[in-house]
């Protein structure tokens, strides 16, 4: 599904990713953990195509196709989704209108007709119920004045609407209380199937109790320094990141 090889990236003059190799197959959940400043958010931004980062080497393949040169919207059209750590507030554009625009632009790019209004409404109803989102919430301006939990829930709602092939959840657990965490994780789990893949980026093991990974990778200083099964997350939780830092 997603294959990243020897990925190097920098922002301004600072090298942040120093040779990432990662292969995520359809149906898998991968967790990427690591201390602050290790490059976790940079990795997610680079996969999604944020132009503030310069890719200096390596490649990103989605189903065998190199997406490294594509604009963020083109990657989205091909099925890449990033749940933002800090979703941006867009006053004046309602959640519904934003989603309608996003879905229809994606359909247009893939040579499909716009989604009929009744179908769109049905989809919105279905997915908002999945995330336990109040209908009134959908007519509010996107992320404006949303609580941390509402923002994250809204991100997963967007993921549910767009049905991506590869979803990257960047620190989706930060700012969530336990109830919100459960709703968000439940939403993600219901969206998982044999045709898609999820990359969970997190600092803590907590979220991984709910979204259980097949593989855990530890990112440190721009490189994946350790990979293992879900038990690696517990080991990290127990020993702390100093253990990794000491080894590298």
């Amino acid at each position: 599904m997603l294959k990243i090889s020897n990925l190097h990236a920098r922002v301004e003059d600072k090298d942040i990713l120093k040779g990432i190799n990662l292969e995520v197959k359809a149906g898998e959940v991968h967790a990427i953990m690591g201390p602050n400043g290790s490059g976790k958010s940079t990795l997610s931004s680079v996969i999604a195509g944020n132009e503030n980062y310069e890719v200096t080497d390596g490649e990103i393949l989605l189903e065998g196709e190199d997406i490294g040169e594509l604009a963020p919207e083109e990657r989205a059209h091909k099925g890449v989704f990033l749940s933002f750590q800090y979703p941006v507030e867009i006053p004046g554009v309602s959640v519904t209108n934003f989603m309608k625009t996003a879905i229809n632009e994606t359909r247009k790019a893939n040579g499909q007709e716009e989604m009929p209004a009744n179908e769109m409404l049905k989809l919105i109803r279905e997915k908002s119920e999945l995330l336990e989102i109040d209908r009134k919430f959908l007519s509010r301006s996107l992320n404006e004045g949303f609580s941390g939990g509402e923002k994250k829930r809204n991100e997963i709602f967007q993921m549910a609407m767009l049905e991506p092939k590869v979803a990257i959840l960047d620190e989706t657990d930060s700012g969530l209380d336990i109830d919100a965490l459960r709703i968000v994780a439940n939403g993600v789990n219901k969206l998982r199937n044999e045709e898609n893949a999820v990359i969970v980026i997190t600092h803590y093991q907590r979220l991984l109790d709910y979204i259980v990974p097949d593989f855990v990778h530890v990112l440190y200083n721009g490189k994946i320094v350790k990979s293992g099964g879900k038990e690696l997350a517990y080991e990290l939780e127990e020993k702390g990141y100093d253990w990794i830092k000491a080894e590298n």
Binding site: N50, A76, V88, I90, G92, N97, F98, T106, S141, L162
Partner: protein, 427 residues
């Protein structure tokens, strides 16, 4: 026909006009040497050989100009073609309120008292272009809403230019009196039908009496060869609420001199605008709110998006007199520059002589937020549409306060067209 014969020299207007001519002759057209016109030059426009009176009366079919009207709803209409009233396209009334012609108000004896009381009484007689209008204006809208009357439908004031003259200068003159506890909504538009240059120098005087409500919208979406100088003067009595929204998308040079004068307590004044221009267009907002009595509020909110070689000017003056304690005056001016060649000149001016007031102003000039762009693109919205959506969102605060739903739809559509996208929104 000589000019003197067109204007009734026997009325009390004669003295007013004579004074105005003198003032204009002494000062002439404004130049960039004057502080108030520092960024806006009419020189190039004035090189045209404008005719002041059209040689012939021009008629138009409604079908050809329907799109400029708010045709989805019923409105009173005052329509002028090349400065001349078109009874065919208009829909006037004297039934419970007056929506009619300035020329008849200026000449009919029954309006003499009203004209003597209000005509040229709030307009700045010192201002040269206002004087030019006072001297030569023969036509325009006359709207008189009597005490406690709520106008049953909005009034559209439409100035159409046919372009049958090679170059035309028009001097529309509007007088609007909104009686005690009365209400009215007005939409004003100037529209040329082809590329022949038109210079419009319009003066509007509005008198909002106690507890009245005036909701005024200016739609400025003219062709790129049209120049508009809009001089609007609003006198507000106690407890009145007056708001002016200005939507500037078209035109070559558009200068809005918008002046509010407070003459009572507990007044509310609202000045809002959206400017979206490109090419070599220029839009200049020159606002004044003169707080003269205690406990009044004024709110200004102007949004501008400038592309190409366009120029924006915002000069917002808030004057708070010594007596005007507990004034709450707010001014905000946000601008987005879309091109490196676009310019914005912003100058807030606060002159405060009272000591217990709340006055604030904020001015921002920036580009579109990169993070917001990336966020939208990452959801599959292409850069061009994302940009348009963000610009639409940027103007939304002003759009939201339009109180005529059909006009709100129209403005949203104009903005979408102007931004070159189809915003697939429910309106």
């Amino acid at each position: 026909m000589a000019f003197e014969e067109r204007v009734d020299v026997n009325t009390s207007l004669h003295d007013i006009r004579t004074e105005a001519i003198k003032n204009f002759e002494a000062k002439g057209f404004p130049t960039k040497k004057e502080e108030a016109w520092k960024y806006t030059s009419l020189n190039a426009v004035l090189k045209n050989d404008f005719s002041v009176f059209p040689k012939q009366e021009n008629a138009l079919n409604y079908a050809d100009v329907k799109k400029y009207f708010l045709h989805q709803i019923d409105t009173y209409k005052l329509v002028f073609i090349d400065g001349v009233f078109s009874s065919f396209l208009s829909s006037t009334t004297h039934d419970g309120l007056d929506v009619c012609l300035m020329s008849s108000a200026l000449t009919k004896p029954k309006y003499k008292e009203v004209i003597d009381t209000y005509f040229n009484k709030i307009a700045n007689t010192d201002e040269t272009l206002t004087s030019l209008n006072t001297a030569f204006a023969v036509e325009g809208a006359f709207i008189n809403i009597p005490k406690s009357k709520v106008a049953d439908k909005p009034v559209e004031i439409m100035y159409l230019s046919t372009g049958n003259e090679a170059a035309l200068m028009v001097q529309p003159r509007n007088l609007i009196i909104v009686g005690e506890n009365a209400q009215v909504q007005i939409i004003e538009r100037h529209q040329s039908l082809n590329e022949n240059p038109v210079l419009t120098n319009s003066v509007t005087e509005i008198f909002a009496q106690e507890y009245s409500n005036v909701d005024y919208y200016k739609v400025q979406n003219d062709v790129l060869t049209a120049t508009l100088v809009d001089n609007t003067y609003i006198a507000q009595k106690g407890h009145s609420d007056a708001s002016v929204h200005t939507f500037s998308f078209g035109g070559n040079i558009t200068r809005n001199n918008l002046n509010f004068y407070h003459q009572g307590e507990r007044i509310e004044s609202t000045l809002k605008g959206i400017t979206i221009i490109g090419d070599k267009q220029l839009v200049d907002h020159y606002t004044l709110v003169r707080h003269a009595e205690p406990n009044c509020e004024s709110h200004q909110n102007y949004k501008g998006i400038f592309d190409g070689n366009s120029t924006g000017v915002f000069n917002g003056k808030i004057y708070v007199e010594k007596e005007a304690q507990k004034t709450d005056a707010f001014q905000q001016n946000n601008n987005i520059l879309m091109s490196e060649k676009a310019t914005i000149n912003a100058k807030p001016q606060l002159e405060i002589f009272a000591d217990d007031v709340k006055c604030s102003h904020g001015c921002t000039i920036g580009q579109l937020d990169d993070d917001a762009m990336f966020y939208m693109q990452s959801r599959g919205i292409p850069a061009k549409e994302a940009k348009a959506l963000l610009m639409y969102a940027f103007t939304n605060e002003v759009i939201e306060s339009i109180r005529i739903p059909e006009l709100k739809q129209r403005i949203t559509k104009l903005i979408a067209t102007k931004l070159g996208v189809n915003i697939g929104f429910d309106l």
